[in-house]
Symmetry: C2
Subunit: 181 residues, 2 copies
Amino acid sequence: MIEKTIEAILDAAFSVFEDAPTATLADVALEAGVGRATLHRHFSGRDELMSALAMQAMRELDEAFEAAATDAENYTDALRLGLSAMIPLANRARFLEAGPVADTPQLAAESKRQRAEMIAAIDQAKSEGGFAAEVPSPWVAESFDALLYAAWEMVKTGEATHKQAADLAWRTLTIGVGGAK
Amino acid sequence: MIEKTIEAILDAAFSVFEDAPTATLADVALEAGVGRATLHRHFSGRDELMSALAMQAMRELDEAFEAAATDAENYTDALRLGLSAMIPLANRARFLEAGPVADTPQLAAESKRQRAEMIAAIDQAKSEGGFAAEVPSPWVAESFDALLYAAWEMVKTGEATHKQAADLAWRTLTIGVGGAK
DNA sequence: CTCAATTGAGACACTTATGTCTCAATCAGG
DNA sequence: CCTGATTGAGACATAAGTGTCTCAATTGAG
């Protein structure tokens, strides 16, 4: 089945490139349990594979966020739940950021759209009182992404469970980790 | 002068690899205004250049932090000033993290040492009341790094000045960006 | 079962990055 | 000025990643 093969290649590519961004297409094919020629049958080359990877990662991030947000009763809660849901995918977002997004117009547009959505959600949360109005929304978005990645890192190194990391990240974003004084 | 040449190569390598981590050694030599052969005279190959880059980046980070910390009257303030001082170098820390550090024992040891220092400083700041005692220090360190990078990003994209980014990052780390309620 | 589609394995040519070497030119210090 | 060190430019060989092709084997739908 073609779809199965493509999926195997994409999964393998994520797993391989996350550890070694300069890994060979042969490495990806091997990890996918697929012939090198087969990989070329579905992806014309490295660039196309990278673009497909980026597109899938963005879609997964978006889906994870949307799915989590449906359970929320307001925008602030949507951001909290979305943060938690996106933690397992945070590294995928990070690794493709530097790479193919900037080069492909379609990906750049999608990236821009998602960022605008995030800013809009933050603005809504601000009007709910969930975020301080005097803090620029772009900074909130940037912090959100940064702490999301930090949470992923904590889970990856085993220093926290998923729930612990999600709670810590949200706590830090909203009230910080400063002392009581 | 040899030292001058080496410095030019390292500077060029930073500038080139930050934009394109897979750039060629020829690109680096060109950017440095140096012959390709000369680069090989000082660095046996890509790996050695990367290691030198990583070592220098860690040293610069360390120096920036120490220099800023001498003006501080306590550990909490040292972290605040250090954060600000490290912002211009944050991307260097990020880009070498995934790369050569893990492979070279010396770099791994230095990285571990710096992390231990950071944890120790955070523990001291906790005892001053600067950070909440119930929050794990590894998470504070992780957040610190994450927000440091976020601040660099804001400055890079022109969405904030250095001072604004430093204030935002420290504010977020200590009291968050949540609403007043 | 049959046949078309898909695949794996391998061979092949091509490109590019890399590392080495040589030689003439330049530079710095004595 | 003289001399040794350093450099730039280029040639060269090598290695590795990439993309294409062929052919036999496998798979899956009809």
